[in-house]
Symmetry: C2
Subunit: 242 residues, 2 copies
DNA sequence: CGGATGCTTGAGGTCTATCAAAGCGAGTGG
DNA sequence: CCACTCGCTTTGATAGACCTCAAGCATCCG
């Protein structure tokens, strides 16, 4: 591992007010005055090399993180080593909310490609959100959105079959990519079949087979991790019909 | 439906400071001054008859609710009518956090036995938590705990088999009952096999069969909804060993 | 008492997991 | 530059867990 791989800090100029992700991220500031205060929120950035962790279950909770670039997965592990991917995070999304409850992180956050995050010290965020009610509201919204998202995953895991799960996964992914200015019909998966499978409660072979089926049905074009969505409507129909 | 079934309000004297659930609930107030302010948080109580809803998906979000007595389930429903129970809530637990994200509730909360809740208007809670940092922190802890809990359910749904799921469910239930002063070795289920099954991603027949297996293994004694845990260690072993 | 609701149990079917082998692609070192 | 290796993916054959369908039983309540 190279020395720079884990560089914990980089004193680059950090300013939420001029960040092109601010529409998607934590700080929705209404007034100029609020924005000025917000810029003090983020202390520094941190780079995380592909394959290494931003934090691990059990680590002391100090800060939450906003993904600036790259891609993460979060996972929980049971005592006996069962592993479950609980989510994939891309630019503008927050990591670490699980740590608040016990002052210690409850999952691992692993970069699945080289990434950079903004470090938001949590005590500072709480202090700030006591003074800027819009920030407080936005933070609450984001936590709530995470809860709603998790409920959606529970619905998926509890009641859908393999094809429906993968369809839902792809539609969710393309929606988030589209929100970031990508086409949404053509995408490169950043995660392995195994990671997708873990997230969806399926085995990697099942993911692979389902991709193949979608391809032979003319719904997708699949070349390894290169995916082209040919018939998004068919994916949507899978979920909404029976 | 009876007129009293949906009685929206009851102007009983409501005071968190003298509530016997305060250890489990939202308001952990450190100072007497803080407690005085907290008592203004809860506006009123509301009774919910068994089978009727506290709120439904789509309802405008105004308040969160603390269960004072009774038992709730929350459920999400997909467009095509698939239903997933996302949780069971007992005294001292909060309901409605899902509504913050969109100013509208994202799930249904159904009383599965006659219940009473404290209504906590959300704007008031936010205002209050801007002034009492301990309340703010506690509220954040509770939201975070909900996220961590959901991740645990995802692990369960994504990687456990029927026996393990039911074992985990029972252990969770007895733990929460014990925290409320009940024995934990003997309990009465408030929910049907179907509701348990929905929560665990299984069919009611599978729940029934698994109960029967636990009984023939000498782990449980089952008489309909009357459950006696004979060998909690065996349940724990099911989850922790492969 | 009789109907409604929920629970139990059986038999057979389906979906997904498991095990196994081969193919592809990217990166490495000779 | 090519051969090699390693990680990831694809595909097949088989097995197992859970679902589906169906019937009968228990419990509650008007």
């Amino acid at each position: 591992m190279v020395a720079t791989a884990q560089t914990p800090a980089r004193r680059a100029k950090v300013a939420c007010s001029s960040c092109n992700l601010r529409e998607l991220c934590l700080p929705v500031a209404p007034s100029a005055e609020a924005f000025a205060r917000l810029d003090a929120l983020v202390e520094l950035r941190r780079s995380v090399k592909r394959g290494s962790t931003l934090f691990r279950s059990g680590d002391a909770f100090e800060a939450i993180y906003a993904v600036r670039s790259g891609f993460f997965k979060t996972r929980v592990t049971s005592p006996d080593g069962r592993e479950q991917v609980t989510g994939f995070q891309m630019a503008g999304e927050l990591l670490g909310l699980d740590g608040i409850s016990n002052d210690a992180h409850a999952c691992d956050a692993v970069a699945i490609e080289d990434a950079q995050v903004c470090v938001i010290p949590f005590d500072r965020l709480e202090r700030c959100s006591r003074e800027i009610s819009e920030l407080q509201r936005q933070f609450h919204r984001i936590m709530s959105r995470e809860i709603v998202r998790d409920h959606g995953v529970m619905l998926l895991l509890g009641s859908m079959r393999a094809e429906q799960r993968l369809a839902a996964f792809l539609l969710n992914l393309t929606k988030r990519l589209r929100a970031r200015g990508f086409s949404g019909s053509s995408l490169v998966l950043r995660m392995t079949r195994q990671e997708i499978g873990s997230y969806l409660g399926l085995k990697l072979e099942t993911i692979s087979r389902t991709f193949s089926k979608f391809q032979s049905d003319g719904v997708l074009e699949v070349h390894q991790r290169q995916i082209r969505v040919l018939d998004a409507e068919a994916l949507r129909a899978l979920i909404n019909d029976c």
